[in-house]
């Protein structure tokens, strides 16, 4: 049978700036490096101590071998901290010209003017810009980078930091806890509905660099917020490492949506721990779109700890040549009548590989819990691969758990049908992929849906018959 063949997709954000930094640590990870990072940030002692403990944990833990192949990461070769600029500016004019240009090419300031409540931009290790519109500031919303939050809202940070994702959780959480820098801090007071999204954009510029941002989102009772993150990096031949940790706290009745459009260049290892805790009646939604990176391992998790809490995960992955998207979700039902819905859609093409790894847990307290997991995989050709690894662990007789995984059908019949209508192979593949992903993409706010469709288009481009 004829199979579609694909050339690697063009990557639009592969340009790089010259590597001029005000501060950077020596490659490799030592106690000195950790102390240096903490010192450069002038941090409180408790944070330095926490970092040093995390470093020990990292050094004791093996690199996981149960998932994607991580054997090519050389931890001694990575630069763990790069400071491009002293402070996170509140106005674009103050951001250094070169960096400003970079973000303007990506479209960050325009987006803020048009449809965001606030936006932030991180360049390698640190935030270079953060702004929240006045409208939300006066209502007590806080949106800044986490380094700033540690200075200005230290009690809040200390109360929540690392309580949901402790350093010992996994190797990369330990690494992040030791060398974290930047990331967003969001606080929404009780009852405040932030009606426009907050966005953060993460850019890795340096070669063989690590980006370890740490994001903390605290949403009080009855409040709601939509946080969106995007990212990209230059197309260097030498890989970079992105190991972020995100912790989301949703108080009773709160609603949090966290949307990720992951578009790293295909030399970035993307190993991220994302976890949320939802109290009674709260809803947490992860909309997790993985288009870029060479390897992604990311399983956004929700702990449903209060009665009637709800989790929603929409996971979308596009794995092209040389990519392995190992994505999924983990839902812990730990209270009565908690509900969860997981929808995963993955597309593999040109030899790409996508895996769904999912966990649904229900304990004795989760009486009346309901969970539904639906995984669909689309294979564009016979050389690509898709796997599903679902784990269901329910200790609760009064529960409803559904898991549906569609057998990954090769889209051959659809492609040849469309071609016999006069569409080129590339047009046909693009239509089939867009159509397949549409149920997820349409959940995004319109601007992000347009952006997502554009990125999918770029990723699929260059496919030749």
């Amino acid at each position: 049978m004829a199979t579609a063949s694909y050339t690697p997709p063009p990557y639009q954000y592969g340009f790089a700036d010259p590597e001029l930094y005000q501060a950077r640590t020596q490659p490799g990870l030592t106690e000195e490096v950790v102390r240096e990072i903490s010192g450069l940030k002038d941090e409180p002692v408790w944070m330095l101590e926490q970092r040093l403990r995390a470093l020990k944990t990292f050094q004791e833990k093996p690199v996981p071998s149960w998932g994607a192949d991580l054997s090519a990461i050389n931890f001694d070769d990575i630069t763990y901290f790069l400071r491009a600029h002293d402070s996170a500016e509140r106005s674009w004019d103050e951001v250094p010209e070169k960096i400003k240009e970079t973000f303007e090419r990506i479209g960050v300031p325009q987006a803020e003017r048009e449809y965001l409540a606030g936006s932030g931009a991180q360049y390698d290790s640190e935030s270079v810009y953060h702004n929240l519109s006045e409208e939300w500031k006066v209502r007590g919303v806080i949106f800044c980078d986490l380094d700033t939050a540690l200075r200005e809202h230290s009690e809040l940070v200390q109360r929540y930091f690392g309580t949901l994702v402790p350093a010992a959780d996994n190797t990369f959480a330990a690494l992040n806890s030791a060398v974290w820098s930047g990331g967003s801090f969001v606080y929404v007071p009780e009852g405040v509905h932030v009606t426009m999204p907050l966005q953060a954009y993460f850019r890795i510029n340096a070669q063989k660099a690590g980006q370890f941002e740490r994001t903390l989102i605290i949403v009080e009772s009855g409040a709601n917020v939509h946080y969106v993150e995007g990212c990209s990096a230059p197309s260097y031949s030498a890989g970079s490492l992105h190991a972020a940790v995100v912790e989301v706290f949703a108080a009773p009745g709160a609603r949090v949506r966290y949307t990720t459009v992951q578009n790293w260049s295909d030399n970035v290892y993307n190993l991220v721990t994302k976890r949320a805790r939802a109290q009674a009646g709260a809803t947490v939604e992860w909309v997790d779109c993985n288009l870029g990176s060479c390897v992604t391992m990311k399983y956004p998790a929700v702990q449903l700890v209060g009665e009637g809490a709800h989790a929603e995960v929409l996971s979308l992955a596009l794995a092209g040549p040389g990519q392995h998207q190992d994505a999924g979700s983990k839902i812990h039902h730990l209270a009565p009548n908690t509900t969860s819905t997981v929808t995963s859609k993955s597309v593999s093409f040109g030899g790409g590989r996508s895996s769904y790894r999912g966990l649904v847990v229900g304990n004795r307290a989760s009486k009346g819990m309901r969970s539904r997991v639906v995984c669909d995989a689309l294979l564009i050709d016979g050389v690509s691969r898709s796997d599903t690894y679902p784990t269901i662990d329910i200790a609760q007789p009064d529960s409803t758990v559904e898991h549906e995984a569609s057998v990954s059908a090769i889209a051959e019949a659809q492609l040849s049908y469309l071609r016999s209508r006069g569409l080129t192979e590339a047009e046909a593949a693009s239509l089939v992929v867009h159509g397949f992903l549409e149920p997820v993409v349409k959940q995004l706010p319109m601007e992000f849906a347009i952006e997502m469709n554009r990125l999918i288009e770029l990723q699929m481009e260059g496919s030749v018959g």
């Binding site: 049978m1 040849s416 469309l418 016999s420 209508r421 867009h434």
Partner: protein, 244 residues
């Protein structure tokens, strides 16, 4: 005109068509009848170039164009269109998306200017209405969640919008009710009116379709060979006595 010469087609290792010849002059309607598994759909797929149907010998001409050297999409853009016996569903892809692209590609090969969106949609709605599908169908995903009959009607409407030179209707009558059958006749009649030289190749088991699509010739395909050809009376004879 469609001209097939000594066509041999294999699927995998198995030879299905063992040397088929067929002359379908411009403006005529020919019918292919034959028992299940005799290779009728294989012929249709070989003509449109479905991957996996390998032509091992022979020629196929559409007018002055030899089709075999062309990609499936090039054949379509030259005016060849198949109404599938079992068209696949394409979730999330709206009927208008598919047809807009298809029509643009066809028009551009013909050197025609791009049809403005409004006019295109008008044509599409007219075609849908003629085959008895509601106008909302333009927003529906291609064949997704459609009944057998709806799929057949949508296949037909698609052909109309594509302004073809030659259409192949592969068991368009299966799954269609009496009204549906009548609409097939009307739709083909409409295509003929706008293009008098249209070639129509009908694949069917039943002569009831031939009441609405009167054939100029009938060919009987059996075990990969055309074993008999004749006029419309051959179809009636087969209907009465079977393929012996």
């Amino acid at each position: 005109m469609l001209s097939v010469k000594e066509l041999q087609v294999s699927v995998g290792e198995i030879e299905i068509l063992k040397g088929i010849s067929l002359e379908l002059p411009a403006g005529e309607t020919h019918v292919i009848m034959g028992p299940n598994g005799s290779g009728k759909s294989t012929l249709a797929h070989a003509l449109v170039g479905t991957p996996g149907f390998s032509v091992t010998a022979g020629e196929t001409w559409l007018g002055k164009t030899e089709l075999l050297a062309l990609e499936p999409e090039e054949r379509a853009n030259h005016g060849l269109a198949l109404a599938y016996q079992n068209p696949p569903a394409i979730p999330g892809v709206a009927v208008h998306q598919l047809l807009r692209l298809a029509r643009q590609n066809r028009d551009s090969l013909l050197g025609l200017p791009q049809l403005p969106l409004g006019l295109f949609l008008k044509e599409l709605r007219a075609a849908l209405s003629l085959v008895g599908l509601p106008p909302e169908t333009i927003e529906r995903a291609v064949h997704d969640g459609m009944s057998g009959g709806e799929r057949k009607r949508l296949e037909l409407a698609q052909l109309m919008v594509l302004k073809p030179e030659c259409i192949i209707l592969d068991e368009i009558d299966s799954g269609l009710d009496v009204d549906g059958l009548r609409l097939v006749g009307e739709a083909v009649g409409e295509m003929r009116r706008s293009n008098p030289s249209l070639c129509v190749l009908v694949i069917t088991h039943y002569d009831r379709l031939l009441e609405v699509l009167p054939p100029d010739r009938v060919h009987v395909l059996q075990a990969g060979h055309i074993v008999r050809s004749g006029d419309a009376s051959l179809a009636r004879e087969i209907q009465k006595h079977g393929y012996r």
